[in-house]
Symmetry: C2
Amino acid sequence: MIRMDHTEERATTVSVPTRELIPGEAAQAVVPMKLGRKRDHSRDPEILGAALDVLAETGYDGMTIDMVAARAKAGKATLYRRWASKSDLVIDAVACMKRDELDPANLPDTGTLRGDLVALVRPPSIAEGERKMHIVSGLISMISRSPELAEAVRGAFVEPRAAANRILIRRAIERGEIRADVDVETLSMLVPSMAAYRLLLQHGALDRDFLIGVIDGILLPAVGIRPHEG
Amino acid sequence: MIRMDHTEERATTVSVPTRELIPGEAAQAVVPMKLGRKRDHSRDPEILGAALDVLAETGYDGMTIDMVAARAKAGKATLYRRWASKSDLVIDAVACMKRDELDPANLPDTGTLRGDLVALVRPPSIAEGERKMHIVSGLISMISRSPELAEAVRGAFVEPRAAANRILIRRAIERGEIRADVDVETLSMLVPSMAAYRLLLQHGALDRDFLIGVIDGILLPAVGIRPHEG
DNA sequence: CGTATCCGGAACTGGTCAGTTTCGTATATG
DNA sequence: CATATACGAAACTGACCAGTTCCGGATACG
């Protein structure tokens, strides 16, 4: 999973207690401890952020290490000191998109399924989703050829969004708001699927009206909630 | 639209009537008519087919003109005699995917919406859709940067599939099987959207069970048709 | 203060690929 | 049969880029 520090950055600290470190036994035996200037890890997020920016603009194949280095005001050698290859850098950058995903413990809880779902499609959340989807679009071609990248995208993008919807739907079931035999898994993918297709292939805007339309016109009717209209 | 014959293949036939060709005026004035060996247009489909094969295997950026030429047993020069650039060749290849799309005049008509939709997801149709979706996946990154390619993909892939669903749903409305105020446009994109998302981002199989699940678990309930179960 | 490592910057290397040209051959027209 | 073009094959050109190395300067340890 962790693909940083491909240059070992020294075995540093202590000799790994390969087996049984008896308490009281001093660990820092003959190990020469680290030496020289230390790697500035506070730059990592800036570099990964720069990589995401470039990915969004050019896609995987269009991105070059020089672009990322220039954008991060870092040297190419610095990047290669931390990641073994372009693909490793990208996988790490994608993985760190997860950082600002919805927190499952902090989801909207309005009391109705519609209220919860609508709360998820507030404009700032839409804009962030649009940006991430755009980044992912530049990776899709690679996804079918790199299982590691595929896993990173699923973990940082697909799964968190599905999980959020899954939780909201399960809550609605527990409340008795909707039937318990609905297909939770497929329903959880409904909004992300339609948003992705619209954005990537239909070239349509991912506006609030569209997403509300999917919720009110498809998702809620599908689980038996008729819009309180007319 | 037509991007073939980028080398003019001779001005051939007649001198273009730049202005006012009065009827009766003989057109083939001094024009030397074509000369030399003629371009063998029967090879075009083979070349475009080879391009689609390579696209499916490697994606847009991984595809090289040499690969396509080798696969089509043609010379590179032959390809460049017919298309001005790699992107022109790809756009033509994508456009010719439309050839074997559903014929709107020849859609299933079983008398029920479910029957019609299920008839669309017969295994051979699924396999073809899976292949095309795989080709498209290798183009998505490019789509956001090439409006022409985007248009080709929509015309050859997105629109025909949406059109088929649109027609089936409209028929169901006309029959009185479903309400007339459903969102036909969004519903037409439902199955393609979920199929694409599952295939491209979830790495899931596009099997019949999944598609039937979308139809029975989401689409039909959404338009008010409850599965006649237990 | 010496040494090992970090840094940003820039030069270098080797491979790849779009697009062009050349060559010998095949096939049309006149 | 002379001319103009298409053909497959292969060589060539120029750009681009992943990855490496080297530089002068900064920083941490002993």
